[in-house]
Symmetry: C2
Subunit: 404 residues, 2 copies
């Protein structure tokens, strides 16, 4: 594949945070219906770290690292041995798996960095990879960038709140057709669905049957709402070298400005990831790595408070969208919600642009996550009142541009 072809499909214009690079178009103005809807800007494309701030101690951990100097600036490519040892203890306790500090953990520049290295280390030209629809947009792009072939697996996320709704028969068919990697986020991005223990058990059984590797992006697995159970696939009896789990403190803990992620599990995949990290970015920034010392180490009650605050916003947004007749899955974890729009008289990308222009609301189009042209994704880790007001504006805009 030529470089030109490789980059042609790698669009980012509609990616979260890139709206600033879009050019205003006269064509868009011709579509406008009604007046502007006043209200403070809410950027639902990512969480607002001014509304939900980092845990106490993170900046202090960074400061100590700068003072420590060279020893902290130049870590191994897989990250500081001391910090990996601390992480292994926390992550073992959190997941119930036995995580080896030296061979089983790598620190990366964000969970995005972990995901990139993980896909690069498992997928090559022509390899078939099972990917959920909908799921995080980079999954598809990464597989395509490395020349892999995507086997989409449907998720009926509106069917039930008791399970994610993965089409397990389709997953079996993908494995039977040759897929040897299954990449999925749990909780699911963009719907907030959590896979049930039964679904995880069936994924494990299929992976065993077909000797497949499972990459689980568990970025949001700490932010689980009241009474929500959670099955860590790394704690299953799938062979250690066949599972890689990815997490990081960018979302729930609002530490995105430090770009930190971790991958843990398969020593084989992690060894490859480290080799590649050496030529991709050497290492996660040495000083930043020290901020991970505050992770899973927050003050008593801090995480519970954060979860409760998000649950309250979630409940308000769900009520607003459902009142308007917009079918919406109940997010069981995380801070994404994926409401269904009415059939629109204009294209989804135009609607999203007009939302920004007329209603001061930024959302991510559903098409970033799969063939979901009637949905938008919101990250509701925002100021509560501002988020509620913005959700009302979205409903009003959906009515205005409805085809019905």
């Amino acid at each position: 594949m030529s470089v030109e072809a490789k980059f042609k499909n790698l669009g980012i214009d509609n990616a979260p945070g890139q709206e600033v690079r879009q050019q205003a178009a006269d064509a868009l103005n011709a579509l406008v219906r009604g007046d502007a809807l006043p209200g403070a800007l809410v950027d639902f494309s990512h969480g607002d770290v001014d509304a939900f701030t980092p845990p106490p101690g993170s900046f202090e951990a960074f400061t100590l690292a700068v003072e420590a100097g060279g020893q902290q600036a130049y870590t191994e490519y897989r990250g500081s041995a001391d910090i990996r040892a601390e992480l292994a203890v926390h992550l073992s306790a959190f997941t119930g798996a036995d995580i080896a500090p030296d061979l089983g953990v790598i620190i990366t520049p964000g969970t995005q960095g972990a995901l990139f290295l993980a896909v690069a280390s498992t997928v090559s030209t022509g390899d078939k990879v099972a990917i959920v629809q909908p799921d995080y947009f980079a999954n598809r792009k990464l597989v395509e960038f490395f020349g892999g072939e995507i086997m989409p697996i449907r998720m009926d996320y509106l069917g039930s709140d008791e399970q994610a709704g993965l089409d397990l028969e389709q997953l079996r068919a993908a494995f039977a057709a040759g897929a040897r990697t299954f990449l999925f986020s749990n909780p699911n991005n963009p719907t907030g669905a959590v896979y049930s223990a039964d679904e995880i058990a069936q994924i494990v059984a299929l992976a065993k049957e077909y000797d497949a590797t499972v990459i689980a992006d568990q970025l949001y697995s700490r932010l689980r709402y009241s009474g929500q159970s959670y099955a860590h696939i790394c704690a299953s009896d799938l062979s250690e070298n066949k599972i890689l789990t990815i997490m990081g403190p960018s979302k729930t803990e609002s530490l995105s400005g430090y770009r930190l992620g971790v991958a843990f599990g398969s020593p084989e995949i992690i060894a490859r990831m480290e080799k590649l990290q050496a030529i991709v970015s050497l290492r996660a920034p040495g000083y930043n790595q020290a901020v991970l010392r505050t992770w899973f180490n927050e003050p008593e009650g801090w995480i519970d408070e954060r979860i409760a605050a998000h649950e309250a916003i979630r409940d308000d947004l769900l009520a607003i969208f459902r009142d308007a007749g917009m079918a919406t899955r109940t997010p069981q974890a995380g801070s994404y919600v994926f409401p269904t729009l009415p059939k629109l008289a204009i294209g989804l990308n135009d609607f999203v642009k007009l939302l920004r222009q007329q209603a001061n609301v930024i959302v991510t189009p559903g098409t970033e996550f799969g063939p979901h042209e009637h949905s938008i994704r919101l990250n509701y880790s925002q100021d509560h009142q501002a988020a509620v007001a913005a959700a009302h504006r979205i409903v009003e805009m959906a009515k205005r541009y409805s085809a019905e």
Copy 2:
């Protein structure tokens, strides 16, 4: 190419900073000659940021960014627009080229990040790439990772201190044979050679003749010794879209712990690099980016003092190696020196391991940079006295293990 094959050649065991992952071997002990040579540990594999500390203001710039919150945490993938604008002014003044802030600059996680994105954006399977020997070890690994074919270009770095010694006829032959990318570091890593204005002019003429793209890694181009001239290839009349320059504050300015780099020049290549950065690591850490505000903005005299201190170390090391009969190129810039060892009775990797074990000195084997099994690379950005003492120990070790 299978994933296994792809990672087989991507060795990092001898890479700078990874020595900690090497296992002690009994076989090595059998080779030992003589007693240990006492002395403080000197790690020449990278600069000592405790000996040469970051410029004043860098940590304060970071602190302000953390206080700025979300606005600085979530920049565009190519980096903060404000900071890119400031960089464009400084880099235009430094290089003499006219650098466009919006389209012509991308901020990356270290210069390694820039190099990775640049090679990924220009090289695909089967593409021929001209690479200098010796040159930075990641150049070769990156081209191979993306399935490119390396066309090695000799550099006679011991021939003259007036020019780098690039074999321009071989470069022409590589272009004639189909190479369309030339990737080189200037000053050269590992030798410290600076390309003469005439060499740069000839590279430009050849690139024009063959419509080739030039990627210039100028990481060390600020640290130039007394009276040393320097030709920025980006200031030549080679078409804008055919040149990409890479720099960063990790070395001369000792800011490696923040992992910051920039690439500037070709808007076409930079647009691709941004698309790829979106799935590799999203962006250089938002808070860290603000540290670039202090770059090219140091206190009066700071950089001159730093250059003078390095020049003094350089002169002492050159005298020590030359007195011992070890042919060594005079570094005209940067802080690398690449002395030639006598013919050894043991392999280079064993010698390097014994240097560490017996003499408390870490160096990088010449074979990381090309077929240079009789050289070692030292980064002499170290405490002056410690570096001099360690160089004497290297000479003693070279005598002990000489085959002559």
